[in-house]
């Protein structure tokens, strides 16, 4: 499309230039002042000179010329006229034509500029310019943290000595505002649990605080709340918004991403353990190098297009994948909109197009996909030692196996049941030229064998590499990975396996010569991923002459398959009828064996996780206008140069690139990282950050309302070894946080948005907290943590996935919403309407809308109606009499406060007339229920 036309034709340019310069000897020295400046003055200077710099370009400063304007393209490449953007646009050889209006430059004028560039674009010393200071690098957020000591006003508000209050009070006083009084205990405890856990406090939790008259009761409560695992579940959700976490791929197929949840658990765990934030950052960029490989789930948490276009479109798709990583890294950690520099220099911030591609080079080797997580070296050592112990114990225990003492049991002599992973057929040595595996029945569909091995002693004589030849009754057509040749290609696993064309059939190996064989080994999938297509009734025939078959082994030689058919069955042990001491010994071995097996299973469990795959990338180029076919110079991996550099070579090792970037971002001296994260914490406490553009700390974002406070908090974070909980503690124990939320006329008038915090700003809970709170109040909340999520949808599994809202709910749906599989593009049918992000883009701040669909969902949905009924049942369980005590309990559970006498009696009479579920439905829809007070 346009890109093709945009490419200037080098030859035509040279032809044009050659004809234009005939009047000039090649050796003529161009003088800038005499020859070039007049041309610029005539055509260019009005827009690109001292008065105006359209598109950020200025032609009277050599350093700026070499850098170029906003396009990111150097205007002049010394000695290379054809590669100089300036020449291309004035010669009319680019999409962009300069000057845009009026007469174009004459061929002679173009020739002057051409020769001037070729000769090195010399300019008088006074125009040589400074090595450019980046635009915007004096912006506040790029400066080191200011260490402003907290003010020390005299005011009851700051009597707790918390510097947060001192800074806030100063802001209030400047506007003639007074802080609000401390909120009552009930309000504070409810607010605390809702903000920090996304769940209301239980009656016991409320009472514990109400009855705690120690002076530090609040600080103790804060500690209890921070120590609860509910904290990590609540605050991880905020992070998932920022990093566009989702568990489907998005785009048109929107297929499931079933192994994304380990990253979700990792974030929750990290927050609960108060992992230092700098480490949390490092692990998300380069956890594979830091012993926390799940962390890089961050890089690939975004959408991924499974449908690949061809040619240029594929390149654009790849650029978009990387753009998603670059942009999310920039906004999430740095509050920098790096993505804006993809096509041209950043319009507001000191991010050049080269910077963008330098960061792209950091991620250039990151591919979307699952990886099987490695076990740590310590774990591996432990596994080896456990294996040794398990082997020894199993051997010792063998004499207690059921049947071991009863020789009459014919099964005892048989081989283990046929299983998908590995089967051995042993028989008396026999001479054979042909070995035929005849399948009479499978566990499901056409049989599959990944490798058929025939042994003469220790030698597999069936290998194709030794000259053996495979034939079969038929092979499944159309699958390269299941062709016949795979049955003896020496490779294991489903990807190198033979599948028969029919449910029964045979595969035969012809040995290069007659051999004496005594053993055959085969499997469905030695890698253990597939267990279908397993031959379960079969025989193995051998022959020296064709068609003189003799059966040497069959499925009848194996013990029958157990119910859980595809797993090798464990032997059973029998300790009865033995001398006491011997039985005790046996039991103790068995206990130990089971414990060792359990431990092994637990520590070796490293399923696949969607954490990306890393490969060494090729070179990264800057792309003119961000178009993949407009490659410019090679760019080495780097940070944003105005803020720091990584000192990496263009071909630096892939992992080192990410480590270097991670270390730069997580450095104590990076001015952005700590500011950005303490601002996010502040935002989720007060509904709005000190900077209300939480993912943009650049020039286009807003300035903080309390700059010194922001810096002071950021400094404290670093000083406390990046402990997020320490910042929470500071905020939560402040008078600011504990204020009442009632509006005052004066506050409303001066600061309607409550940015100065003359009160605690009340607000509606988010979707997740509303849902979780309902489950908590109705008494059915399942607090199980971690592992695969539950689904909010019924999924129609076509190539393109379709998600239909669930129609019925049960206990499996009663976990916290953070464990609901996050489907991109689809809203959960009840709570999604409460501004849930759709996972397509990072969302730093949810909108907080109020819509009739929310009302319909909360008032009419099956989910809420069911919860109302469960709530009513709980009330009836706890207060069997349908009386005023039950109504009081309903209020206490829903709102965390006792009902006033008239409220309780009104509720009772309503419930008596319309039923308790109706009362509960009203309570769960009430403003008081869904608001942080």
């Amino acid at each position: 499309m346009t890109s093709v036309r945009a490419r200037p034709s080098l030859t035509s340019l040279l032809v044009l230039v050659a004809s234009a310069t005939t009047s000039r000897l090649p050796a003529d020295e161009i003088d800038f002042v005499d020859d070039v400046q007049p041309v610029f003055a005539k055509h260019c200077t009005a827009c690109h000179g001292p008065q105006a710099q359209e598109s950020g370009l200025r032609l009277d400063d050599r350093a700026l010329l070499l850098r170029g304007g906003d396009s990111g393209e150097p205007a002049v490449v010394l000695g290379k006229p054809a590669r100089s953007y300036l020449l291309r646009v004035v010669a009319g050889k680019d999409d962009l034509k300069m000057p845009p209006e009026g007469k174009p430059l004459s061929p002679e004028e173009v020739g002057v500029i051409h020769d001037w560039i070729r000769q090195g674009a010399k300019m008088p010393a006074e125009l040589s310019g400074q090595p450019t200071k980046s635009k915007g690098s004096d912006h506040w957020s790029f400066q080191p943290l200011a260490a402003t000591p907290p003010p020390r006003p005299r005011h009851a508000f700051v009597s707790g000595g918390n510097p947060v209050d001192a800074f806030v009070l100063r802001g209030l006083v400047e506007r003639g505002l007074e802080p609000s009084p401390r909120a009552d205990r009930r309000t504070r405890v409810r607010r605390l649990y809702l903000v920090m856990h996304g769940l209301p406090p239980t009656r016991a939790e409320i009472n514990e605080f109400l009855n705690d008259d120690r002076p530090d009761a609040w600080a103790r409560l804060v500690d209890r709340v921070l120590a609860s695992p509910r904290y990590g579940e609540r605050w991880a959700q905020h992070w998932f918004d920022v990093v566009r976490f989702g568990e489907t791929h998005g785009f048109e197929t929107n297929r499931e991403r079933p192994n994304a949840w380990p990253y979700r658990d990792y974030v929750i765990r990290s927050l609960n353990e108060d992992e230092p934030y700098d480490q949390f950052v490092r692990e998300q960029l380069a956890g594979d190098a830091l012993g926390e490989p799940v962390g890089t789930g961050f890089l690939v948490a975004g959408p991924y297009d499974l449908v690949k276009g061809g040619g240029n479109l594929a390149a654009v798709q790849r650029m978009n994948e990387l753009d998603d990583m670059i942009n999310t890294t920039g906004t999430a950690f740095l509050g920098l909109t790096l993505g804006c520099a993809r096509c041209h220099n950043h319009k507001f911030d000191p991010v050049t197009q080269t910077d963008y591609y330098a960061v792209q080079a950091v991620f250039a080797g990151v591919q979307h996909g699952d990886a099987r997580l490695p076990v740590s070296p310590e774990t591996q050592t432990r596994i080896t030692s456990l294996d040794r112990e398990i082997g020894k114990l199993a051997e010792r225990l063998s004499r207690f196996e059921v049947g071991a003492r009863t020789t009459s049991d014919s099964d005892r002599t048989k081989a283990p049941p046929v299983n998908p992973r590995h089967n051995v057929e042993t028989f008396q040595p026999v001479r054979a030229r042909f070995v035929r595996f005849v399948i009479e029945e499978t566990s499901r569909s056409q049989p599959c064998i990944d490798e058929l091995e025939v042994f003469a002693g220790d030698e597999n004589v069936a290998a194709a590499s030794r000259g053996a030849r495979a034939t079969a009754s038929g092979s499944l057509a159309g699958y390269a990975i299941h062709e016949l040749a795979h049955v003896n290609d020496g490779k294991y696993g489903n990807a190198h396996s033979w599948i028969c064309d029919k449910p029964t059939g045979w595969v035969q190996i012809e040995l290069p010569e007659t051999k004496t064989i005594d053993r055959i080994e085969w499997a469905r999938d030695r890698e253990g991923r597939y267990s279908d297509r397993l031959p379960v009734r079969y025989r193995i025939d051998v022959a020296v002459q064709p068609d003189k078959w003799r059966t040497v082994a069959s499925s009848a030689d194996h013990r029958p398959r157990a119910q859980a058919a595809d797993r090798p069955s464990e032997p059973e042990y029998d300790f009865t009828g033995l001398p006491k001491a011997e039985a005790a010994q046996g039991r103790s071995w068995l206990n130990r064996l089971q414990a060792a097996r359990a431990e092994r299973a637990a520590i070796a469990k490293t399923g696949p996780a969607y954490v990306g795959r890393f490969t060494q990338p090729g070179e990264t180029h800057r792309l003119f206008r961000g178009e993949p076919d407009q490659k410019r110079e090679v760019v080495a991996p780097n940070a944003v140069v105005a803020l720091g550099t990584l000192d990496l070579k263009p071909r630096a090792l892939e992992q080192r690139r990410r480590i270097a970037l991670a270390n730069w971002i997580a450095d104590d001296c990076n001015p952005l990282t700590a500011r950005v994260v303490v601002n996010r914490l502040w935002q989720h406490h007060f509904g709005e950050g000190l900077v209300d553009t939480p993912s943009d700390f650049g020039a286009n974002g807003t300035r903080p309302t309390h700059p010194e406070l922001l810096d002071w908090l950021a400094g404290r974070l670093i000083a406390e070894n990046w402990s997020l909980k320490s910042v929470h503690r500071l905020i939560l124990t402040s008078s600011t946080w504990q204020q009442a939320s009632r509006p005052s006329p004066r506050g409303t008038e001066v600061d309607g948005a409550t940015r100065l915090l003359w009160r605690f700003p009340p607000r509606r809970l988010e979707a997740e907290a509303i849902r979780d709170s309902m489950l908590a109040v109705s008494g059915v909340l399942d607090q199980r943590m971690g592992g695969p999520g539950f689904s909010g949808f019924e999924v129609q599994r076509e190539n393109v996935r379709h998600f239909f809202p669930k129609k019925t709910y049960g206990p499996e749906d009663w976990r916290r919403m953070v464990y609901m599989t996050k489907v991109r593009q689809e809203q959960e049918s009840v709570f999604g309407a409460f501004d849930c992000p759709d996972g397509g883009q990072g969302v730093a701040k949810r909108s907080r809308s109020t819509t009739p669909l929310q009302a319909l969902n909360l008032f009419n949905s099956t989910f809420v109606v069911e919860q109302s009924e469960l709530f009513a049942r709980r009330l009836a369980d706890e207060v069997p009499e349908s009386d005023v005590a039950r109504a009081a309990l309903a209020y206490e559970l829903a709102f965390g406060r006792p009902a006033a006498a008239d409220e309780a009696s009104a509720a009772l009479s309503f419930a008596n007339e319309h039923g308790w579920p109706a009362l509960c439905r009203a309570l769960l829809n009430a403003n008081e229920f869904v608001f942080v007070p």
Partner: protein
């Protein structure tokens, strides 16, 4: 407002504390322009962010300048409806039938390499008084040619359905951006206080490829998301729960109101709390109004006959026709933006339930043509006879075009983002008119080449909105429907 504190996004409820008294009962027009916008009025590129009272997000708001159209009705053909077989007449393609596409030897499009040029299986004939050449696939739409304004030179950035739908519906090929309807309702609110401001009507066969992303709110407030329902499938959770009797339901609302009134007294003047109360009231009205608007039984027989909604022979057409009647009823009631989908992916990809005719185009389009033709022509005719076309802009579009060739070894056309057709009708649109052109085969736009951004800019323009100034601040950018692109196609404006 005496607090010039830094803030970036739209005003929250507390900026409206002072306006509260006027707020709730009646729907006052909050058609103020943002103070920033007013002050910067001279600067023609400064953002104009609509000032929205959170208590009344759907209150009607004034446009930037005099509007030609009040409402928009988009007919979206999912699957990429071929311009070659409908509206883009190329005699040369008939001449060169079954010859190779010049320069197409090594051309590999979305799915396949190219076979030879293929004329449409349907004959083009002159239609209307203007004589516009349109095929026999859509003769009834063709008959209305005098009311239509064709843009034959649209281009897309992608040749893949999901991104293609996203691009046409949201101006961005990625997911997660606000749809055109969301932008429009964000800017203008709604004229109807009983119905959603923005309705998406999925095809009876299911949702399009990109599903809800076509009518999502992206980063705009959720209030501006399209509400999806059609004549057969109502709004989710609209109806009273079956387990709850009507008197109890009504009593519960009243009880809830009392709870809220008492609680809200603790926060005098808080509009977010008041807005929740208002939202339950609107929800209650919708519980009546949406079934009423969806109940087509009040329509006369003649309407059913006009749209083909009574056709027993072709139940798919009849079902889509009922959606078309619903669309008219919504427009009639002042719903700001209606998006009507023709074609779905749920019930069969690749041409089975949509226009994605890769392999068996003649066979598949023979089904899809009639499903589209009579209902949409009926809709246009009905809108016109009721005078609704004077204030309603109708846009027919699809994700991108198709190739003038058949795919090698198949009897259908591959995707082609290089040139495709849409048409406009109604308010502010020049008709009959054809603008732009593809090359002699209908392959690549060559005359007045236009982008989807240009189409969006034009639609906003007709609504009295400057696409460069209608913005929403998100993640460091003043976001626009048209990103940093788009030029109004003034030639199509009457």
């Amino acid at each position: 407002m005496s607090a010039p504190l830094p803030r970036r996004d739209q005003p929250t409820r507390r900026r409206f504390l002072g306006d509260m008294a006027a707020g709730l009962g009646g729907i006052a027009l909050a058609s103020l322009l943002d103070a920033d916008g007013l002050l910067a009025g001279e600067d023609e590129s400064s953002p104009i962010r609509p000032v929205i009272d959170p208590a009344q997000p759907y209150a009607p708001r004034v446009p930037h300048f005099a509007a030609r159209a009040k409402n928009v009705l988009v007919v979206f053909c999912s699957g990429a409806c071929s311009q070659i077989d409908t509206f883009d007449y190329k005699p040369e393609l008939v001449q060169r039938h079954d010859q190779p596409l010049p320069g197409g030897e090594n051309l590999r499009t979305f799915q396949s390499v190219q076979g030879n040029l293929q004329r449409s299986p349907w004959t083009f004939r002159p239609r209307g008084e203007c004589g516009k050449m349109i095929t026999d696939l859509v003769p009834r739409i063709g008959a209305l040619a005098d009311d239509l304004c064709f843009v034959h030179s649209l281009t897309s950035k992608t040749n893949t359905h999901g991104p293609g739908e996203n691009f046409v519906s949201t101006g961005n090929i990625l997911d997660g951006f606000p749809s055109m309807g969301a932008w429009v309702t964000y800017a203008l609110g709604s004229e109807n206080r009983e119905l959603p401001a923005y309705v998406a009507i999925p095809d009876p066969r299911g949702t399009p490829q990109s599903s809800v992303n076509n009518w999502g709110a992206g980063f705009l407030p959720a209030a501006y998301q399209g509400t999806d329902f059609n004549a057969a499938r109502p709004i989710r959770n609209l109806a009273r729960p079956t387990a709850v009797g009507e008197p109890t339901d009504r009593a519960t609302r009243l009880f809830l109101d009392r709870l809220n009134t008492r609680f809200n007294d603790r926060y005098p003047g808080d509009t977010e709390l008041a807005a929740r109360v208002a939202s339950y009231q609107l929800a209650a009205r919708m519980q009546l109004s949406v079934p009423a608007v969806s109940d087509l039984s009040t329509e006369p027989k003649s309407t059913f006959a006009l749209y083909g909604a009574d056709d027993a022979e072709n139940p798919l057409m009849a079902a889509f026709a009922r959606n078309c009647i619903l669309a008219r009823r919504l427009i009639e009631r002042g719903v700001r933006f209606v998006q009507l989908f023709n074609g779905a992916y749920q019930t069969g990809g690749e041409g089975v339930s949509n226009w994605d005719g890769h392999k068996k185009l003649a066979e598949q389009y023979a089904k899809h043509g009639p499903i589209l033709d009579q209902p949409v022509s009926g809709l246009l005719t009905d809108l016109k006879q009721r005078g609704l076309l004077e204030e309603t802009l109708v846009v027919w579009c699809t994700e991108f075009g198709r190739m003038p060739t058949f795919q090698k070894g198949a009897s259908g056309r591959d995707h082609n983002p290089r040139g495709f057709t849409c048409w406009l009708a109604g308010a502010g649109v020049k008709a009959p008119f054809s603008y732009g052109a593809t090359d002699e085969f209908g392959y690549e736009a060559v005359e007045n080449v236009r982008t989807v951004h240009d189409l969006h800019a034009t639609i906003l323009h007709l609504l009295g909105l400057d696409h460069r100034r209608l913005t929403f601040y998100h993640n460091g950018l003043e976001r626009r429907l048209t990103d940093v692109h788009g030029h109004v196609i003034h030639e199509v404006v009457s």
